[in-house]
Structures are given as structure tokens and as C-alpha cells.
Symmetry: C2
Subunit: 141 residues, 2 copies
Amino acid sequence: MLIARSTDYAIRALKYLAESGEEVAVSELTQKLKIPWPFMRKIMQLLGRGGFVASKKGPGGGFILLKKPEEIYLTELIKLFQGPVCLNECVFKKKVCANKRTCYLSKKLGEIEEYAYLVLSRINLKEIMEGGRNYGKTENN
Amino acid sequence: MLIARSTDYAIRALKYLAESGEEVAVSELTQKLKIPWPFMRKIMQLLGRGGFVASKKGPGGGFILLKKPEEIYLTELIKLFQGPVCLNECVFKKKVCANKRTCYLSKKLGEIEEYAYLVLSRINLKEIMEGGRNYGKTENN
DNA sequence: CAATAAAGATACCAACATGGTATCATATAT
DNA sequence: ATATATGATACCATGTTGGTATCTTTATTG
């Protein structure tokens, strides 16, 4: 799977922050986005460490977007929540396959990965917000 | 990950069968390919059910290739061992995301998946055998 | 025909990743 | 001072996947 749940939640949260423009507490996020509270907190903390949002403690505190939506690229979020985009890691993690360079399959998988990265690295939050008018709304809303 | 360990083992086994041309027992496969015996058996059984190989019981029995290498496509093997190639399944398995059709991200992920499928569906065993002269040889051999 | 060598079927186990929870510490507004 | 927010971190639950074990069935061969 290219996009994990955590990444998806992060996108929704960032989108919400972008639309709000002001400080938003996790309690609000969790209510509006219907995402489990402690999990949302964890995600916001990571976003903080990743430099996407700033946090303010205390009453009235919360999170605020640090970057412009058009500066937030999908690959960066994926990297933060799932590690580097990778589709072709050789099956033999430890004793790495000796023939990485000459392996035909590895080459082909590499091509796919490259393409995937290219597409993903061009997608930014702004695009997502505009392109999918209803991103992040499930059947239940 | 696009290719799981089981699929990789299957490819190696098929390659071995193709090169051998005759009935090969799991015990031989397991020795030559350095793959755990019971796991190899399981994989061969699946390959049998998938119609890639025929089996013969009893002494001297084993598995023999049913198709020509150029007729064995990677996507079919992947489907057999990992299920359908899928990179963009919506995170919300049960209550499926209502906006699949209008979701911008889903569209983009779909494009990637399509490309991946295209590349993979064109790769056949013959190509792998020729292209990667040493496919399936790890550092230890 | 008995013994043996193979596969068929199936249930089980272990390790790891991921989604999700809980708790205690720290900062800040009022 | 107290309430409300985040920071850090450790823990738990579930699913997937790699891997194992066992019992049954079939066929060869002496």
C-alpha cells in the first residue's frame, strides 16, 4: 500500500488546519475528522517534529500550519509516517541479494518505483485540497 | 512491497524447473535453491493449484513445468501468491470511502497502479531468465 | 504386496508492522 | 493555583507473512 492510514489522517488534519488558518486543538480535530483521539495526537506530534506544524501548549493552544499548502509534498508526508517510498527492496534484507545491479527484476521494479516517486513527489496539499473537493469525508458524514 | 518472498521463491523454482526440463522433487529444489523445505512444498502446491506445474506422486515423482516460460507472466504469479496487484486500496476497508470516484488522491494512486501493472504484466519468466543471468543467486552461493 | 518416496491438505506457530491506547511530565492562560 | 493543552514514551491488539509440523494419499519398485 502506498498510503498508510497514518499518512491519510495526517493529510486530513493538515487540510483542516489549512482551512482553519488558526490554532486548532487535537480535541477539535478529533471531533471534526472522526479520528481516534490518542492516535490523532500521536500524528500531530509527528507532524510537529517533521516541521509541518507548530504547537502551543496550554488552554487555547493547539497546532498551526507552518508551511503553505503548496509547499507540502506528499512524498515528505509518506517519508515521515511510513519511511522512504520503496517498492523494490530485495526480499533478502540482511544478506542483501548480491546481484542488485545485474538483477533484471530489480531493474524493472526500480523503474516502477521511480515513476511512483515522480508522481507522488509532485502532489502537494494544495492540489489535494482543490482536486478532491471532498477528500477526507467518509460515508458517515 | 511489490514482490513478496513467496513470489520470489516461486520464480526461482519455476526457473529451475524450466532449466531442468524434467520432473523435479521438492527435495532437490530445496537443496539447490537454499529455500526452507516445508515452505518450498507449500509454494509448489500453490503453483500446482494455479496450473503452472503438474505434480507426480510416488518415488521419482515431483513437479514439472506445464507452461512455456514465455507464457508465465509476473502478474499471474503475484496474483497467486499475494492477491491482485493493488497499491491504492482506500484506507477504509469496510465502510469504503464514499468518494472513490471523485477523490483526487485515489485517481493519482490509480495511475501509479496502472503503470505498475502494465510493466509487471509484460514481464514473463523467459525474460527474467535471460535478462537476469543470475537471478536467484544470493551472496552465499 | 509391502515398503518407501514422493505430493495433497491442513492446521499451527513466530516475528513483525501497524493501528490504536494509556500515562506521566511539562508548559501556559486565566 | 488550576485547568487545559501538548511532549514523550511505553504499551497493547490485530493482521499479515514467513515458516513449521503432521497426517493422508498415491505411485514406484523390489
